[in-house]
């Protein structure tokens, strides 16, 4: 069983500006990966989703990649 990336790296807050980190949890078409693929806890998946949505709003990440 895989461990939660954020818990194992002691990341308490997921920052929307940390795009290199967020990119890891996106698919090639820039969609968010499901919890099944990310292997993070429900709580962190929710935080991750918020961070990705914020980054998208600020134009740091695309909504969709062609």
């Amino acid at each position: 069983m895989k461990q939660d990336y954020f818990s194992s790296n002691n990341i308490k807050h997921i920052d929307y500006k940390d795009t290199e980190l967020l990119k890891r949890f996106l698919t090639p078409s820039a969609r968010m990966q499901s919890r099944r693929r990310t292997d993070v806890t429900s709580k962190n998946q929710r935080k991750l989703a918020v961070a990705i949505k914020r980054a998208r709003f600020m134009g740091l990440l695309p909504y969709i990649a062609k």
Binding site: H13, Y16, K17, L22, P28, R54, G59
Partner: protein
């Protein structure tokens, strides 16, 4: 009785005014600002926040970035489209009422293409550890490279077949 109630309400209002929060404003400034004037724009932006009661904790000087998609914003009743912008952020502490005032002021600021005001924590939220695995993340993989094949030599093929048969 009514007066006593008013006093209680006033005290509550004061208590909420005194309540402070940590906010972070991420902003994208219009790319039309020349690089040499950017410092002045940033300092005037920060001064306007400080006037409304913000106490700065940390910030990052804006830098030109390519936006992930085209954004539009109406400036002086004219819709403009932006593909680039100066992205910066500032973290500060202020009262909740001042936070609302700051938000209203940012809405009217025509130097900003877009901004995002969020509640956050005092310590840095940027992770120091770099992610492992696919660094490109969402980027599509380029078409599979065709492996270069060596010219086929009949003699070597015959030898290999013989070796297999034997």
């Amino acid at each position: 009785m009514a007066k006593a109630k008013e006093v209680v309400v006033d005290a509550e209002a004061e208590a909420t005014n005194a309540k402070t929060s940590i906010y972070e404003v991420g902003y994208i400034m219009v790319p039309s600002i020349p690089e040499e004037n950017l410092g002045g724009e940033v300092s005037s932006f920060k001064d306007s926040l400080a006037e409304m009661g913000a106490t700065f904790i940390s910030d990052e000087y804006p830098k030109m970035i390519e936006l992930a998609y085209e954004m539009s914003r109406s400036i002086a009743n004219k819709k403009q489209k932006f593909s680039y912008g100066y992205f910066g952020w500032v973290k500060f502490e202020c009262s909740t009422t001042a936070g609302k005032m700051i938000k209203d002021a940012l809405d009217k600021n025509e130097k900003l293409v877009r901004y995002l005001m969020i509640k956050t924590v005092r310590e840095s939220t940027m992770s120091t550890k770099r992610p492992y695995g696919n660094k490109d993340g969402y980027k599509r993989r380029s078409a599979a490279k065709v492996e270069e094949t060596l010219p086929i030599n009949e003699e070597t093929i015959d030898k290999e077949i013989d070796a297999l048969v034997v």
